[in-house]
Symmetry: C2
Subunit: 217 residues, 2 copies
DNA sequence: GTCTATAAATAGATAGAC
DNA sequence: GTCTATCTATTTATAGAC
């Protein structure tokens, strides 16, 4: 796993989703409040970024008192670091897309990337990371590790030749740029273009970076 | 000119750089304070974004009192809108790059884009726009208008065929993504790669979008 | 044009009752 | 675990002297 290992310094003792036997650990069924707060935080951070989101607003969104946020997460910063945890779905999806045939690989990578972004359960954390990456060091660090990590994990064995590091970074740049104009800056008509059409346009770009032989022209 | 016409609503009566004859307008030599404040604002906004930049900090950077910032610009928001004014150099550079031969066009576009970003006098405003685009509506609007505007102005006559709007937007996406990973997120090794190598890698990508015939694969 | 002083709102964070 | 109440710092912005 190549994910945000460096950033979220806190272990997070989360009660299990379903109440069950607890061989020594934290008692289950305690309350879902902690996770409600985290979900609310992701929602707010995703929508407005770190600075413009107040602890009070997060508490209100979660339907709890402001003091509870500090009770569970200590500081706004620590809560934010927890909110940055990007779901494993993206690296998994990319790896799965990379497994198949070499033909159409770039297109499948783009489609996998877009599919994860459409996933409502995965989006808030990714949106939080992307939106805050420009103004928050930790978010930028997570984005760096995550983007290159998942792509290297998926394409490390496929991509060979010169300047491998640069080409991986440029694939990441392509996908990050796409998410930026599609979901954040909303550069018309990117947000309204179908995944299929985007894959048709961007797939060959990824393939270009994957090809060890630079194009003749 | 296709630049931020929609966003900076304020006219900006700036005294000329060099004291000279003034046929009716504002008296020159009044003081450079107003521009010092604007420069300081760009510097601060570029470095930390809108929210994390306080009026006090801008004043300190400019070496003036905080009240002066409000005296000249009214509110922090209005000052920010002024700071977003992107220099004309970028659309000019892109147009110049587009003027030449069709061969190597993509590469020249990338080089022109990179060259303007290296320009110390142009960077703060662009950095301000890019950094704040994710969290500030006006900055996002300026980035949208500016990116598509300058590219359409430069390449409008060259780019033909299907999905012209989308392809223009994707060229903008490519260049914005590059600036993001090179100057903001600093995705290794993009920040340390020479303009020539980046142009060699990204030029063919731009050419791909310029080509009315989609690639065979 | 430039400053001091301060208003008014909001921020993150904590103490302590229940 | 959850809440009330509050502290302290910082923010944008303004009024008014010089």
């Amino acid at each position: 796993m190549t994910l945000p290992r460096s950033t979220p310094p806190e272990p997070h003792p989360q009660p299990p989703e379903t109440p069950q036997r607890h061989p020594g650990g934290r008692r289950p069924g305690e309350n879902r409040t902690r996770e409600q707060i985290l979900d609310a935080a992701r929602e707010c951070f995703a929508e407005r970024g770190y600075d413009a989101t107040s602890v009070r607003r997060i508490a209100e969104t979660a339907g709890v008192d402001q003091a509870l946020v500090h009770h569970f997460y200590g500081t706004k910063e620590k809560l934010f670091l927890n909110a940055l945890e990007i779901p494993l779905r993206m690296p998994e999806a990319l790896a799965e897309a990379a497994a198949g045939d070499r033909v159409g690989l770039g297109s499948r990578i783009v489609l996998a990337h877009l599919r994860v972004w459409e996933d409502a359960s995965a989006r808030p954390a990714m949106m939080t990371t992307l939106r805050s990456a420009a103004t928050h060091r930790s978010a930028a660090a997570v984005l760096r590790d995550y983007a290159k990590g998942s792509i290297r994990e998926a394409l490390g064995k496929v991509i060979t030749g010169e300047d491998v590091e640069l080409r991986i970074a440029l694939i990441a740049t392509t996908l990050i740029g796409l998410s930026l104009t599609r979901h954040l800056v909303r550069l018309d008509p990117v947000p309204d273009t179908s995944p299929q059409e985007l894959a048709a346009r961007l797939g060959p770009v990824i393939d270009l970076y994957l090809d060890p032989v630079p194009p003749a022209a």
